[in-house]
């Protein structure tokens, strides 16, 4: 084949690669001799060389605007564009007659020619000779039958350093589909994922730096290969490594890695730490004081395992993990506007549908299948039946739930999920945990994906639509007519529908439906003919206009000019259509990422083969992405971190561990509870956060628990339950009513919790990134906890608070809400409530919802009377408080309660006495406890999970 003939002379057998074939020696050797005659190849040598010299980087010619009039594809791999721009046209940088005078060479060699990128190339270097020889032989593009890169072999496959400054040379061999192999070390790009641990230079020489572990990454052609490098942190490796208990498979795999690093895991966490951690992680809920005491008092050996089993059956588990699944699937209310006729309902449907399946522990693949292959109508349902069923679900008196339906189609109806490209990106993010958006515009810099891969993948997303199904137009019109809504559209229609639904009428619903494949999806020839015809027409018109300009017939001229404008417009529209088609719409075939080409015409729904592929045991992403995300929930970082970036250049920190869990998850039928149980039952999960001298700096290998800020919803709920009366705190475990972890959709909702959730970084579910949820700390969060009226009120007032409960127990009376009346903040709050309420009433009136208007009006009355109260002069504090302490209080016991309900542990002796002395310094016990509760929820220990 083509590759071998020109190189035959250059083959010198060096070391034998694993495959046993001869390896062509590297270009820097072959082109070392001045009289070298070899002709290099554009794809194999010239293009990678441009990458190595930095020519196609983003700040240089890789920029989308190009630089100095030359644009190269970012990160290479668009060989046609690169060759065209370099070697063809008026702007060609190639001089075939005197190759050495080619601008491509002159500019990077000498300053004379004003190269913005400066000096990059030396005359007489092997690089220079390689370029010259390519130009001399005609600067040929990549031949159509070019061999494919089958494998990139990098040796050594793993590096173990033991002291600073040690070096190792990487060697890179490309294996091609024509059977040839070449040492491409001088043509590869290298990168270290952490310069802290090891550096790597342009030539692939690795130098050891600080102790730790990371990966070196090698790039050549489309391939990306990571090589692990380890330098032990201590000398406690091999036989010196202490005996560490590894009761589960997870522990064995984690410790295997730690043993290489000389890192010893922390001790097991104590029971209180474990209970708080696992309750927050698994169920998003702080344990109650009683739950903590019961657990601590339990002396049975299997109490942790039983606790995990118990928590997996709680409503908190279902609610919190539904919230997490809503995060990654993108349940955002703002993007679901008008998908159904009732505002807010679509996101509620979404939440309910997933919730039912999480609660029933439906296998993950089945749950996903109900989303991926979703159409709005259940099997065999007509449009009228569908609308009837939905209308009855949306009737306020209805008792059954949307979750009983087969599919959850809203995923496909989102405003930001209409274009095939947006769908491809979002789908890959959600179900594969990869970021293919980079490949939309250029070769993925950290993965194998090319633009071509991306475009072909979008084909799967071209045959599903949402709105009014043209196939049911007749039924739709009939239904609309029967409701007297003929001709009403848009907002006019939307205003009527909620009212009709409340009256129990059947209204037409929008639907998500699959578009059946056309027989002849590829109309390329026909299109070309059409375009040709249109262009001819334009030419004719232009000619006749020229003629008419000479004559007098102004009217005919004007007519023709109008016709010309219209014809040009048609061509433009046609070209835009063709462009859309090329971008994937109506594609006849589509290609799975890293997989097969699928003939879409053979499937009634293009998403069927997509779902089959997700379930394919060889799919390296689907189960893995979920397992890794669940792991990240428990350990602060994923085994792959960031958890939604499963790219080749971002390898797992512990591959055997991720492999084991992924395989286990699949073998157990995608059982989500199995996964949670497997992880939380491991000793690794139950380790203390307290580091030892070997693992303090480890943040990637799970040698100790890492304190992490509570997620927004959990933090908010924790504040509420910590400050609430015993009864309310317990009720928060049983019912999810009013819980932040049960808010269905993200989006801009005006409810009292939204400010807190926003500043604590709830996921808005809008950007295809797990980082949409933030775990950062911020000033506003701290200010909120310290001094926001919302928090102070939680601690302080109302019969539902723990303080009030204590007061009742001590005095027989609930706590007077003195502190909440007559203060400015309360007044402002009430004023705001009144304003909001008025707005809501207005909206409800508009919607014609009389019931709601009535309810809201009553509330408004209450607000107004409260507002009047706040205007009254404030009573003396002491008067109201004089009733406290009619019964002698057990201060120590109250302080213990305060600790249990906030930090889920007993106070130490020192903490107890400091707390009591604070309480003693206040006017009365309740005041003292108020300050103590404030201090406790403001400790770092409260707001982090540890």
């Amino acid at each position: 084949m083509w590759r071998t003939f020109s190189l035959a002379a250059a083959i010198v057998s060096l070391a034998l690669p694993a495959s046993g074939a001869e390896v062509i020696e590297p270009v820097n050797k072959r082109f070392a001799a001045e009289d070298v005659k070899e002709v290099p190849d554009f794809r194999t040598h010239v293009a990678p060389m441009l990458g190595r010299l930095g020519c196609n980087s983003r700040s240089c010619h890789g920029s989308f605007q190009g630089r100095g009039g030359l644009r190269l594809s970012l990160f290479g791999f668009d060989f046609k564009m690169d060759h065209d721009n370099l070697a063809t046209g008026e702007d060609s940088r190639i001089n075939l007659e005197t190759p050495a005078d080619s601008l491509m060479l002159l500019k990077p060699i000498s300053d004379e020619f004003g190269h913005g990128g400066g000096h990059r190339l030396d005359e007489g270097s092997w690089e220079h000779r390689l370029f010259i020889n390519w130009i001399k032989s005609g600067a040929k593009p990549v031949p159509a039958d070019h061999a494919d890169l089958t494998r990139l072999e990098v040796t050594p496959t793993e590096i173990l350093f033991n002291k600073q400054g040690q070096t190792r040379q990487l060697r890179v061999i490309a294996h091609w589909s024509d059977g040839s192999s070449e040492d491409v070390t001088p043509l590869s790009r290298f990168q270290s994922n952490s310069g802290q641990v090891a550096g790597i230079d342009q030539a692939g020489l690795v130098t050891s730096a600080e102790p730790g572990d990371t990966h070196l990454v090698v790039f050549y052609d489309s391939e990306v290969v990571p090589i692990p490098v380890v330098r032990p942190v201590t000398d406690r490796i091999g036989p010196k490594y202490p005996k560490v208990p590894t009761p589960t498979r997870i522990d064995t795999l984690v410790v295997e890695k730690l043993r290489k690093l000389g890192v010893v895991p922390s001790d097991l966490s104590d029971d209180a730490q474990f209970l708080r951690r696992v309750s927050l992680d698994l169920t998003g809920t702080l344990p109650t004081a009683t739950q903590v005491e019961t657990f601590l008092a339990d002396s049975s050996a299997d109490k942790r395992t039983r606790k995990i089993d118990e928590l997996l059956e709680t409503p908190g588990y279902a609610a919190w993990w539904t919230t997490r699944l809503c995060d990654i699937t993108g349940n955002n209310d703002d993007n679901l506007n008008n998908v159904v006729p009732v505002r807010g309902r679509a996101s509620q449907d979404w939440y309910d549908w997933i919730h039912r399946r999480v609660a029933e522990n439906v296998p993950y693949d089945e749950l996903v299948s109900g989303i991926v292959t979703a159409v709005s109508r259940d099997d065999g349902e007509s449009f009228t039946d569908y609308s009837k069923a939905m209308s009855s679900l949306y009737n306020p008196d209805n008792k059954s739930s949307y979750s009983e339906r087969e599919h959850m189609p809203h995923y496909w109806a989102r405003r930001n999920f209409r274009q095939p490209t947006d769908r491809a990106i979002g789908f890959a993010y959600t179900f594969l945990g990869i970021r293919i958006q980079c490949a939309q515009c250029h070769k993925h810099p950290f993965d194998q994906w090319t633009q071509n891969d991306f475009q072909q993948f979008t084909g799967f997303f071209t045959r599903v639509s949402s709105g009014t199904n043209p196939a049911s137009r007749e039924e739709y019109d009939k239904l609309q007519k029967s409701l007297g809504l003929e001709g009403k559209r848009g907002n006019q229609l939307r205003r009527e529908l909620p009212r009709l639904l409340r009256e129990g009428k059947t209204v037409p619903f929008q639907e998500v439906y699959a578009i059946a494949p056309r027989r002849n999806a590829n109309n390329g020839n026909k299109n070309n003919k059409n375009l040709k015809r249109m262009k001819q027409q334009v030419a004719q018109l232009e000619a006749s206009i020229e003629k008419l300009k000479e004559g007098d017939d102004k009217k005919q001229l004007a007519d023709k000019q109008k016709q010309l404008a219209a014809a040009k417009q048609r061509i433009k529209r046609f070209a835009a259509q063709a462009n859309r088609r090329r971008n994937g719409q109506g594609a006849a075939t589509a290609k799975l990422l890293g997989g097969d080409v699928v003939k879409l015409t053979e499937h009634a729904d293009a998403r069927e083969p997509l779902m089959q592929w997700l379930r394919d045991p060889n799919n390296g992403y689907f189960a893995r992405a979920f397992v890794n995300r669940v792991w990240a929930n428990y350990f602060n970082v994923g085994i792959v971190e960031p958890p939604d970036d499963l790219s080749l250049a971002n390898p797992p920190s512990n591959k055997p561990l991720l492999d084991y869990l992924t395989q286990g998850f699949i073998d157990n039928g995608y059982d989500m509870k199995w996964l949670h149980r497997e992880i939380t039952s491991s000793r690794t999960y139950q380790l203390s956060w307290q580091p030892n001298e070997t693992n303090a700096k480890d943040d990637l290998n799970f040698s100790h628990a890492v304190p992490r800020r509570l997620p927004a919803e959990i933090a908010y709920d924790a504040l509420k339950s910590a400050t609430a009366s015993d009864a309310i705190a317990l009720a928060m475990h049983g019912s999810m009513e009013g819980r932040a972890i049960a808010i269905p959709g993200a989006g801009i909702r005006r409810n009292s919790t939204s400010y807190a959730l926003q500043i604590f970084g709830r996921s808005v579910r809008d950007t295809n990134c797990d980082c949409d949820r933030s775990s950062d700390s911020s000033l506003l969060q701290t200010v909120f906890l310290r001094n926001d009226n919302e928090v102070l009120t939680m601690i302080d007032s109302g019969r539902d608070s723990w303080l009030s409960q204590v007061n009742r127990e001590l005095t027989g009376k609930p706590l007077a809400t003195a502190r909440n009346t007559g203060n400015q903040r309360g007044a402002a709050n009430i004023a705001r409530n009144i304003a909001n309420q008025k707005r809501r009433i207005g909206q409800a009136k508009k919607d014609g919802n009389d019931k709601l208007v009535k309810r809201l009006t009553q509330q408004l009355k209450r607000y107004k009377s409260r507002s009047q109260q706040t205007q009254k002069p404030r009573k003396q504090k002491t008067e109201e408080k004089s009733t406290v302490e009619t019964k002698p209080a057990d201060k120590a016991s109250l302080v213990r309660q305060a600790y249990l309900r906030t930090l889920s542990r007993y106070p130490s002796e020192a903490e107890l006495s400091r707390s009591i002395s604070y309480v003693d310094g206040e006017e009365n016990i309740v005041d003292g406890l108020r300050g103590l509760m404030w201090a406790l929820i403001n400790t770092k220990e409260f707001i982090v999970n540890h």
Binding site: N193, D698, Y755, S777, N787, R825, A935, E941
Partner: protein, 435 residues
């Protein structure tokens, strides 16, 4: 031991953590590093005020009148002379007409997003919205680029309708939202800053001392964990804000002298404007406020004349005059805009007609921070349907706003997925505004 990589193949050196635990406080260290190193630029304006007019104010009935246009376009309002020669605008903005020398009018601004949410996101960020990326609002970028006094929140939005969001910059650059708007002559407290529930500074100090004694669980490991370290630092700053008399006073509009407060009127927008001047005077870096109700599909003229123009006229003129009185106008950059203009041709859906969404032609206002007032930049065509020449985009306006705030709008950030993002990618600074 972890690195973040960017889409362009460069590693984010500034994000590489040195032997640290947790990802929580990444940003903080970055932020502190930046300020420690003195990389925060000396801005032209020291503060910014963004006034949003959500709903989309009719350009033809406010600052871009076309008295000679055909009847079905023209509308019923007449232009009046202002104190800036050659500058004329709507008769129902008489107070603004008296201080037209303090602000510049940008006409013939044009874009193509005719939906409220999209248009709003566009004018609040200067970048055309993308489905998979949320751009940060001006206030968040400003907060990232400037460090304010330790005892004041750096970025405040008045009311709860702000569309100034931190986007991909993350929660640490979010605004403190006051929730309510202040009421004339009444003490105004704001969440987190005012002492709530009858607390006194003395009590806070006692509690803080208790907290200091109890918050010892992680003693010794904080330095290895950026989250814990960050919580400690924020704790300090929160404490100084809460105990700061200056911060509380800044929010309390009732402390303003009656003479100064009077021109602001008594409605919510006027009070918000008054609050904005106080906050800027105290040293808050960025304030955003809004005046809604501009979506005049029906009864355009009555609604503008009776409901919308008077508060805008009163509030904005008082704000500009007030800033100047306090000597703050030169160092405060003010930007006023809605999400689009309204259809030049009057619709006939209501008795007197209305105007619908129209992004192709709109106006914006700019003042302070080096902008020369009393001039009109840009021009729309005869019927205000399109810019007369090339026109300006919201990107240009944003670039200009950033420029006056001393921020290089071509600076690059990285999105949370590591993609390089220019603050304003497609904008050009409108130099004429500063001449």
């Amino acid at each position: 031991m972890a690195t973040f990589k960017t889409c362009d193949g460069m590693k984010r050196r500034d994000f590489i953590r040195v032997g640290a635990l947790g990802v929580g406080g990444l940003s903080l260290a970055n932020y502190l590093q930046m300020t420690d190193a003195g990389e925060v630029k000396q801005p032209r304006a020291k503060a910014g005020i963004f006034i949003n007019l959500p709903g989309g104010p009719s350009h033809m009935d406010t600052f871009d009148l076309k008295p000679d246009a055909p009847k079905e376009y023209r509308g019923t309002f007449n232009p009046i002379q202002t104190n800036a020669s050659g500058v004329e605008f709507c008769e129902h903005l008489p107070k603004l007409a008296q201080c037209a020398d303090k602000f510049a009018i940008l006409r013939g601004v044009t874009h193509t997003l005719g939906a409220h949410a999209l248009g709003s996101e566009y004018v609040n960020t200067g970048s055309r919205p993308l489905p998979a990326l949320e751009y940060p609002g001006y206030g968040s970028v400003f907060t990232k680029e400037h460090q304010g006094p330790a005892d004041l929140p750096p970025f405040v939005t008045v009311g709860n309708t702000s569309r100034q969001k931190p986007g991909f910059l993350g929660v640490k650059y979010a605004a403190l939202a006051t929730g309510a708007t202040p009421r004339a002559g009444q003490p105004f407290g704001v969440r987190g800053v005012s002492l709530g529930n009858g607390l006194t500074v003395g009590e806070i100090e006692k509690r803080q001392s208790l907290l200091g004694d109890l918050d010892k669980t992680f003693a010794g490991v904080e330095k290895n964990n950026q989250l814990l370290d960050g919580l400690d630092r924020f704790s300090q700053q929160a404490y100084s804000i809460i105990t700061s008399k200056r911060a509380r006073a800044a929010f309390d509009v009732s402390k303003e002298s009656p003479d100064f407060a009077k021109p602001f009127g008594e409605d919510a927008f006027g009070m918000s404007c008054l609050l904005a001047t106080r906050l800027v005077e105290a040293g808050v870096g960025f304030v955003s406020l809004s005046l809604g109700g501009w979506d005049t599909h029906q009864d355009n003229f009555t609604r503008l004349k009776e409901r919308n123009l008077p508060p805008l006229d009163t509030g904005l003129s008082a704000l500009l005059t007030g800033l100047e009185q306090k000597g703050l106008l030169d160092t405060t950059s003010v930007f006023v805009t809605g999400e689009f203009g309204r259809t030049p041709k009057i619709n006939t859906r209501s008795a007197e007609g209305g105007r619908d969404h129209y992004p192709r032609c709109m106006f914006m206002l700019m003042a302070g921070g080096g902008v020369r007032g009393g001039q009109v930049i840009g021009k729309s065509d005869d019927k205000a349907t399109l810019p007369a020449a090339t026109g300006y985009s919201p990107d240009d306006a944003a670039a200009t706003f950033y420029h006056s705030l001393g921020i290089d709008h071509t600076k690059e950030y990285h999105s949370k997925t590591g993609r390089p993002i220019t603050i304003v990618r497609n904008g050009q600074v409108i130099k004429e505004l500063f001449s």
